[in-house]
């Protein structure tokens, strides 16, 4: 945790120093461009790296009744046997965190002097994970207004809904609260729970600190240390259209925010954050549960049962081993024993 925190502070310092030393062009233009490129190339590279390994076996995790006899109601979404049903299962997984929704908490207790376990439904992680991810998604969509001119109507709608309570000026966005609440929860449970503390790696803390730093610097920039938003937009439009504009004169907080975001983009493809891409490829979720009905083909299947190189113990060999005893026991044999 300390290391991850120190690393985050270091990034903060670098971002600040960059603008203080007059390296605005480096930190406001070159770094984000490089980061964007690393993110896109890295993301694709990772997906390709995964995709290069085949899926030799169909191993969906079945979570409901199979389709067998006509009069038994199968569970279409928990044991999907058609591609559309698998798609719905995946949509529920990606957009509603279906599996996390199942979460339970096991508690060891003592009842009448004997040890017991009781299970409770436990949806907190699901709820805050949703808050964080949707907060993040909407914030990213909102940021599109910096990249697009004119701002499309749909983004304006998202912005309007996000600020629907019309509190403060500039208007307070709900998602800013969501993302902070989500991240705070994810961080707190990692600190408070013995299990989570024990399994956490520096990378787990770092991802959280980095995201918190991005959210906080962004919020500060909007509500506290305000920067010239029109100039920011010019700079970003420059980046988006690959005609960079010099970002001098914008407050340090902007560079700190951009540095954090750049680090996230660079870090993303090489980290656990790639679960964003991985969730779509998980064979326990994205395969049909019809494995007895349709044969799944393994591209590296070494042999078929009739191949000469098949190295299982064949019946002929087996009969050779036991022929006499089999005949004596009255079991039929393919080849009669020699008299």
């Amino acid at each position: 945790m300390t290391i991850a925190f120190a690393a985050t502070l270091l990034i903060l310092f670098v971002g600040w120093a960059g603008s203080a030393l007059g390296l605005q062009y480096l930190f406001g233009v070159i770094l984000p461009l490089v980061a964007g490129a690393v993110f896109i190339i890295g993301f694709v590279w990772k997906l390709v790296r995964w995709a290069k390994s085949p899926v030799p076996f169909a191993i969906p995790t079945v979570a409901g009744q199979q389709r067998s006899l006509d009069w038994i109601k199968p569970s279409r979404l928990e044991c999907p046997w058609t591609t559309p049903a698998v798609l719905v299962r995946m949509l529920l997984e990606v957009f509603a965190f279906r599996s996390l929704f199942r979460n339970t908490r096991a508690e060891r207790t003592v009842i009448d002097g004997t040890p017991r376990v009781t299970y409770f439904s436990n949806k907190w992680l699901w709820l805050f994970a949703l808050l964080f991810h949707y907060g993040m998604l909407v914030i990213i969509i909102r940021h599109a207004r910096f990249f697009l001119d004119p701002v499309p109507a749909c983004i304006a709608v998202v912005e309007f809904v996000d600020g629907v309570f019309q509190i403060g000026a500039p208007r307070f966005y709900l998602t800013d609260a969501f993302i902070l609440a989500g991240l705070a929860f994810l961080l707190l449970r990692r600190v408070v729970s013995e299990r989570l503390r024990y399994i956490s790696l520096p990378a787990d803390w770092f991802a959280l600190f980095l995201l918190i730093a991005i959210a906080v610097s962004g919020i500060l920039m909007r509500y506290v240390c305000k920067v010239d938003i029109n100039q920011v937009k010019e700079v970003i439009m420059g980046l988006a259209t690959l005609h960079p504009v010099s970002p001098t004169g914008i407050g340090s907080i902007f560079f700190i925010h951009v540095t954090f975001v750049s680090v996230l983009l660079i870090y993303f493809p090489f980290s656990k954050l790639m679960h964003m891409g991985g969730v779509f490829m998980s064979p326990t979720r994205n395969m049909k549960c019809n494995t007895r009905q349709e044969r799944h083909v393994n591209p590296w299947n070494p042999w078929a049962i009739d191949d000469p190189q098949a190295n299982y113990h064949k019946y002929a060999e087996y009969e050779d081993d036991y022929r006499d005893a089999m005949v004596e026991a009255g079991l039929p044999v393919d080849k009669q024993p020699e008299a």
């Binding site: 729970s193 656990k272 393919d334």
Partner: protein
């Protein structure tokens, strides 16, 4: 078995908190009872494992092959290239901890390395070191660690403390499946010549004799004849099941535990009685006398070799389709792997029940039907004369076995059958049944006697749920359809919930089944007096 602590003592001895030092700095504990006995060298050699060697888990030096690091590296590289799942599962985990208290071993031991996330990290840390830039450069700070013999020992302890039940994969937001990781690590360990006797000896026997128990063809026929004697005693009907005969419609394959071990044998007797009653045109096979597949716990390659016999035998005998007995992991293999391993089975036909005419379209590729599906269909079509009153002294619950639940989804069929043959049925509490079912604690080849302490701890969540319905609903019976369960649950239940009997589904079916020409039943299949025996027509007259 050594003297066991009482359940209270066992759980009181569970550490209340995690070790002070981080998990990379804690060493696995090797004391008798904490590890499985090693596989014998000749068993591994017979199966073609090059690095089979003499070693002992409690020794400091495991006599690893000289280039053991290279072997592990190549083995992991090969697995990553062959399985997208492994790559994803190595890269995607965010350590959210949702899986932690889903594992029965973690609930039973409170050992942090039994949290599925940490079990996987045991491999991930090595993967990061060898296969990611960050891991290579930043080492420990990127969650990477160097492979050393202690890591191998840790793998041996903890990947043989996972029953591949896949309960964690249900709750994981990315569907990370620890069973997949466990099989692959066990495969890597086998590449170093490290395996456990309970699994590898069964695999060797299955390869040679056709079944895990190593029963030779003539003995097998004899054993079943004894069971037929018992059936005759109970029902007055003599059954003479066909063996290895060509030209029958169906080959019936069931786990070998059912031929041999109490209480599986009663389930097997149930199958024979059912087939006799409906006049099924079937044969048994001594060559394919194993439905289960211990190879599937440790290696995809070995699993395929053992599985191949089913199709090879069905083809040789000229059968039309295969009927499979009640089992757990057998059905993981049959349902998700068989067609891929050894199909296409185009020499067989889509299964059709000869009694009801029902076409099993759901088995169109594998050509293999689960007996619970088959029997449920018979009952639905009123083809069986059942007298569930014979089971009236039984208040039963249903234990969903891990594999048929989370790798197949056969949930309602057995319940339908059970409710038709038994008047008193009670479900265990939610979160412990159906897709959320708990393992018996002995799955994936861990039903070895030497780790009984671990098995009892792993079985605690299952037993705890059973205890609940035992206390609240007077449940005195737990039916299940996994052969490992039938072997593993009786000692578990005697320990945690004395007073509950464990049985297969078809034992209860056969108890209730009224057969044509049978004598009035006074005994159940275990030859215990029926509290509600059939009325004797002679006495009535």
């Amino acid at each position: 078995m050594a003297k066991m602590p009482t359940p209270e003592e066992l759980l009181a001895a569970t550490p209340a908190s995690f070790p002070k030092e981080g998990w990379m700095d804690t060493k696995p504990d090797f004391h008798p009872g904490s590890y499985c006995y090693p596989a014998k060298t000749d068993a591994l050699q017979k199966l073609g494992f090059e690095n089979a060697h003499e070693w002992a888990p409690q020794e400091e030096d495991w006599n690893l092959p000289e280039n053991w690091e290279e072997i592990i590296y190549n083995s992991l590289k090969d697995a990553l290239e062959k399985h997208r799942s492994l790559k994803l599962f190595m890269d995607c985990c965010v350590r959210c901890g949702a899986c932690a208290d889903k594992c029965h071993f973690f609930i039973g031991t409170n050992d942090p390395k039994n949290m599925p996330v940490l079990r996987a990290e045991l491999l991930r840390s090595v993967y990061r070191k060898d296969f990611t830039t960050a891991g290579r450069l930043l080492g420990k700070y990127a969650g990477a660690r160097k492979l050393d013999p202690e890591v191998i020992k840790e793998w041996f302890i903890y990947f043989y403390q996972c029953t591949e039940c896949r309960r964690c994969s249900l709750f994981c937001p990315y569907g990370i499946d620890t069973a997949e990781i466990t099989v692959i690590v066990r495969q890597m360990l086998l590449d170093l010549g490290l395996g456990i006797n309970w699994i590898m000896n069964s695999v060797k026997d299955c390869n040679e004799t056709g079944n895990h128990l190593g029963i030779k063809p003539h003995s097998m026929k004899e054993i079943v004849e004894f069971l037929c004697d018992d059936i005759e005693t109970i029902t007055g009907i003599r059954i003479d099941p066909p063996w290895n005969e060509k030209g029958h419609e169906v080959v019936f394959i069931t786990p070998s535990g059912d031929y041999f071990a109490d209480p599986g044998v009663y389930t097997f007797m149930g199958y024979l009685m059912l087939f006799h009653e409906i006049g099924l045109d079937y044969t048994l096979s001594t060559y394919a006398s194993e439905g289960g597949n211990f190879g599937s716990f440790v290696s995809f390659d070995v699993a395929k070799r053992l599985n191949a016999k089913m199709y090879a035998e069905a083809k040789r005998l000229g059968a039309k389709w295969i009927l499979g007995g009640e089992c757990g992991h057998m059905w993981r293999v049959v349902n998700q792997y068989m067609a891929t391993y050894n199909g296409p089975a185009d020499f067989l036909e889509t299964p059709v029940s000869p009694i009801t005419g029902t076409v099993f379209h759901n088995a169109a590729a594998t050509k293999m039907v689960h007996i619970a599906e088959f029997t449920a269909d018979l009952i639905k079509h009123n083809k069986l004369n059942l007298r569930p009153e014979r089971n009236n002294h039984i208040i039963t619950t249903w234990h969903d076995s891990c594999n048929p639940s989370r790798a197949m989804g056969i949930l309602e069929e057995p319940r339908y059958v059970l409710k038709n043959v038994c008047n008193n049925f009670v479900e265990m509490p939610e979160h412990t049944i159906r897709e959320e079912t708990f393992c018996c604690g002995s799955g994936s080849g861990l039903n070895a006697e030497e780790i009984m302490d671990q098995r009892l701890r792993g079985g605690f969540p299952r037993a705890n749920a059973l205890r609940y319905v035992h206390d609240h609903n007077d449940v005195n019976w737990m039916a299940c359809m996994c052969a490992l369960d039938r072997a593993a649950l009786p000692p578990l239940v005697d320990y945690w919930v004395p007073g509950v009997t464990v049985s297969g589904l078809h034992e209860l079916v056969a108890n209730a089944l009224v057969m044509k020409g049978e004598i009035p039943r006074t005994m159940d299949l275990r030859q215990e007096d029926l509290p509600f025996p059939d009325e004797d027509p002679a006495e009535e007259a």
